[in-house]
Amino acid sequence: LNILEFSLLVWIGSFTAGFLGALTGLGGGVVIVPLLTSVFGVDIRYAVGASLVSVIATSLGAASTYIKKGYTNLRLGMFLEVATTMGALIGALIATFISAKALTIVLAVVLLYSAYLSQQPKLENSDNELSDPLGSYLQLNSSYPTSDGLISYSVHSVPVGFSVMLVAGVISGLLGIGSGAFKVLAMDQVMRIPFKVSTTTSNFMIGVTAAASAGVYLARGYIDPGLSMPVMLGVLPGALLGAKVLVGAKTQTLRILFSLVLVVMALKMVYNSLTSGAL
């Protein structure tokens, strides 16, 4: 397999991953690392570096549109970025002295958990009572556009949400994924923010979170230009196309299918790392 063929195959795989990731809302990053490691046999550290770069690209591209439409809560995002960037730095530093085997196992668990989370029903929170005083102080309560006009919402349990975000940051730094599933968990379930706002705000934050670990990865030589190039150039258009198709598409079946793919990949990764014995 020469570099040209390899790059083309990786490009096709990344494009598909980005497309499906956007359609199902799971994000392309979550499937890029297992794809590169278990299908293409790439070392997990290169895979994590390439995935991180593609995650930044897609998140920035999508965030631009969401901000313009008024879904993203900028203040909430910037406040929670304190937690995710700190977490990402910790995660990236852990990643440099943890074994590739341990990294694989952690990733497999996160994949399974993401698959599980994606099957949970989406909550459309929009109550106005019992706002967190910290949330009011930080001006986190806001409103977002719906078909019935602007609907205001308030933010709950800010400290708990902040802590979950710290964990999301660590996972993101450790594995080079956006860990959007965990960010949405913190905002959806804990802070009880409307689904549209939590997904778009999570997307807004991913760029900064990933940038925090990218510096560390770059210094450690995890970011390989030859590999990152087809991954980034594949995931980005794939995700943009997926986001366009998403409007009006039936995603339930796709979501289940994609989750199954995640589960199979997670199991294969664990199997590979347990049988190889190397590293």
């Binding site: 570099i3 046999g41 070392d43 690209a57 591209g61 901000i67 900028l74 700190m86």
Partner: protein
């Protein structure tokens, strides 16, 4: 609202120019950023004056402007960064496409690819891989630029809680890019 959107017609162009400059003059990065942000903030201030008669509060309006500014930054930033990666990638494949692919084992990267300064030097020396790496660096620079612009906007709003919040995030980001080498 018409006047407001008129004020923002110039933004994309300005931003694009700034990003391209950034790529050419990495060393002046800080002064460039401040300069460009200053221009944008002045524009924000100008458009704000127009809107004093409007029904929105000044506070809300500034947040709205910040959103517009960030939205354009992200969009054009991604376009510029991916273009650089694409150019580098095509050049790289033309020269190295026939060589065997070897990513199974981790070797790390040559040291010049591991720091922003090293990458720029390698690009100037004509390395095609380094051009890809430069595009990737530009991509990483966009979120950092986003935080800097937000910080300046909050300074202007005199919203010191958020000045502190964005400063912490910025410090962490800068630490990750600079501190990781020591």
């Amino acid at each position: 609202m018409d006047k407001v959107s008129f004020g923002f017609w110039h933004l994309p162009l300005l931003l694009r120019k700034e990003v391209i400059k950034l790529q050419l003059q990495q060393k002046d990065i800080d002064s460039e950023i401040q300069e460009s942000t200053q221009i944008h903030l002045n524009m924000v201030a100008q458009t704000q004056d127009y809107n004093v008669v409007g029904d929105r509060t000044t506070q809300k309006f500034s947040d709205l402007q910040l959103g517009q500014l960030l939205s354009s930054l992200l969009k054009y930033g991604v376009i510029v960064a991916s273009t650089v990666v694409l150019i580098g990638g095509v050049l790289y494949l033309i020269r190295h496409g026939a060589e065997p692919a070897a990513y199974q084992f981790f070797k790390g990267q040559p040291s010049q690819f591991c720091s922003p300064g090293g990458v720029v030097q390698a690009v100037l020396a004509g390395s095609r891989e380094a051009t890809i790496q430069l595009g990737l660096l530009l991509l990483v620079a966009i979120p950092i630029l986003r935080v800097i612009i937000s910080l300046l906007a909050f300074l202007r709003q005199k919203d010191y809680t958020y000045v502190v919040i964005t400063s912490i995030v910025l410090t962490a980001l800068i630490y990750s890019l600079v501190g990781a080498y020591y």
